[in-house]
């Protein structure tokens, strides 16, 4: 017989502390569907995605009911589209529309992979593809796009960094309040099996079709810590590890069972603690539970480093295969604690940048003034990419230069994307630096062979 306390603990985690499976993401290779024209490729890609993922939503909903745990999002990630449309890149938008239509047909929440990997150089076909991103994001609803601009092995492609700053501005100007930028992320060291959006894509080294699962549960961690107000940080880390173990085990169970029922291989469980704008589902509040008056103050980076490490250590033990981004996410608009800290002016982009050195991703869901120059956005990305490159970790920038908005305004994205107070950026120009282009060379410790 079960321990009643354990059973009730699980029920409370789900019903009171927002434990959920954030996403079941099916990765689908599009490589077998490249045809001789953009039109035929778009059609073939649509059929491929719809036939491969036809049972995804149904299966996830069934599992959710059987196990009694919410599965919040059902998603699909595909091979970076720049590779699929390399022979006719300027017509890539046809594939974008086909993918968005497939997402609608399937009833999934997001489809990621309108992406290009240009970390070493931008080929001509990739350059043409990049130019299609703003229009593709503006003309679709569920499609997400990403660009990998650097890696620890190859350095940072500063020409691509420059271009991405421009693309973010264009996307912002084409969509209401710049909301299209919420569906676009630029990476250094992008993960090929990441199930989270906007950065999910299906890497070329992956299986033909695969199931990756992302868990969540910051509320559960915060709740556990709230019972140990006097614990020292060693004990707090142990508590987080034990909690992360339980959360991840739920993800592992759902991932294995979803893969079995759908008849595709199980890929990875991504151990990330993903917040939502709901109260009681905040990573910022975990840090405050650890003893910070407000997230963003001194001590935040240390607290986050401990949290991130403990989540990984607890999670790794709980899953047979771990991957993706795996750590704590610190989006501003998607985390009520972050939103409130930003509204009080307690957290700055500089502090967020420092925090990205020790957690799983990067500057995420940050609204900045609409008149921020493209070169400043590129420079923000260059800083993040440099952190990722030198520290052998994934970093990213998902930033929204909200048109017409200034510091003090708020941008409302709705749903899981939340609301973002417009945060100030430094006004010193990086125009000259960014316009130099070239490659930021890889660090010496990249030569490991």
């Amino acid at each position: 017989m079960f321990n009643t306390t354990d059973v009730i603990e699980t029920i409370d985690m789900i019903e009171k502390e927002h434990l959920d499976i954030r996403t079941v993401t099916m990765g689908i290779s599009l490589l077998p569907r490249i045809r001789e024209s953009a039109e035929k490729t778009a059609e073939a890609v649509y059929e491929r995605v719809v036939s491969r993922a036809k049972d995804l939503v149904l299966t996830a909903d069934q599992l959710s009911r059987e196990y009694g745990i919410p599965i919040v999002n059902k998603r699909v990630s595909v091979t970076p589209v720049s590779l699929i449309t390399a022979a006719f890149p300027e017509k890539s938008a046809l594939v974008a529309l086909a993918l968005d239509r497939a997402a609608d047909t399937l009833g999934i929440d997001f489809l990621g992979g309108y992406s290009a990997l240009v970390h070493k150089a931008t080929a001509d076909y990739e350059s043409a593809f990049l130019s299609t991103i703003p229009e593709a994001l503006a003309s679709t609803r569920k499609l997400c796009s990403s660009v990998n601009v650097g890696s620890s092995r190859s350095g940072v492609n500063m020409d691509a960094v420059k271009r991405v700053g421009e693309l973010i501005k264009e996307t912002a100007n084409l969509t209401k309040d710049g909301s299209g930028c919420a569906k676009f992320v630029a990476f250094c060291n992008a993960a090929e099996d990441n199930p989270f959006m906007a950065g999910a894509f299906h890497g070329v080294g992956e299986a033909d079709c695969v199931i990756n699962v992302g868990v969540s549960g910051p509320g559960v961690v915060q709740h556990a810590l709230s019972f140990a107000p006097e614990a020292d940080l060693t004990e707090a880390a142990e508590l987080i590890k034990r909690t992360a173990f339980k959360i991840t085990r739920a993800g592992q169970l759902v991932a294995k069972e979803a893969a079995r029922r759908l008849g595709v291989p199980f890929g990875v469980v991504d151990l990330s603690l993903a917040p939502t704008p709901a109260r009681g589902d905040s990573v910022a509040h975990i840090l405050e539970e650890l003893g910070l008056e407000v997230v963003g103050g001194h001590g935040t980076t240390a607290a986050l480093a401990m949290l991130n490490d403990a989540v990984k250590k607890g999670g790794v033990m709980a899953s047979s295969r771990v991957g993706g981004l795996s750590g704590a996410f610190i989006p501003v608009s998607e985390d009520i604690g972050m939103i409130e800290a930003a509204e009080r002016g307690a957290i700055s982009i500089d502090k967020l940048e420092a925090m990205t050195c020790v957690c799983s991703v990067g500057l995420d869901m940050i609204a900045i003034p609409g008149d921020t120059p493209a070169s400043t956005i590129s420079a923000i990305l260059a800083d993040e990419a440099a952190i990722g490159m030198v520290n052998n970790k994934t970093t990213a920038v998902r930033i929204i230069p909200a048109p017409g908005k200034k510091v003090g305004d708020t941008v409302n994205f709705g749903g899981l994307l939340g609301r973002a107070p417009v945060m100030p950026v430094h006004t010193g120009s990086a125009e000259k630096f960014i316009s130099r282009g070239g490659i930021l060379p890889a660090p010496i410790h990249s030569f490991k062979n």
Partner: protein
């Protein structure tokens, strides 16, 4: 297949009778019951065997939730694996 039924809410008469009647009607065998009352809060955990039940488990869960609504309690029917996964190494 084994499942866990949990019933929580304000204590009242006939809770076990109603839930057991539902389970019996669905050909589900009760293997173990444990219950506690804290103040006026009732919490019951049942381990059940649903091997003979021919219904789809997901819809069975939904029906169990409906029974809960009728008696003013929260009734959940969940596959045992979620608890095994989270609480055993």
């Amino acid at each position: 297949m084994k499942a866990v039924v949990t019933v929580t809410g304000t204590d009242r008469k006939g809770i076990i009778a109603q839930v057991s009647t539902f389970l019996s009607a669905k050909d589900i065998n009760i293997l173990d019951i444990s219950q506690t009352i804290m103040g006026d809060q009732f919490a019951m955990v049942m381990l059940v065997d649903a091997t003979d039940c021919k219904e789809d488990f997901a819809s069975l869960s939904a029906e169990a939730a409906e029974v809960g609504k009728k008696i003013g309690m929260t009734v959940r029917l969940q596959h045992e694996d979620i608890f095994n996964a989270m609480h055993t190494v």
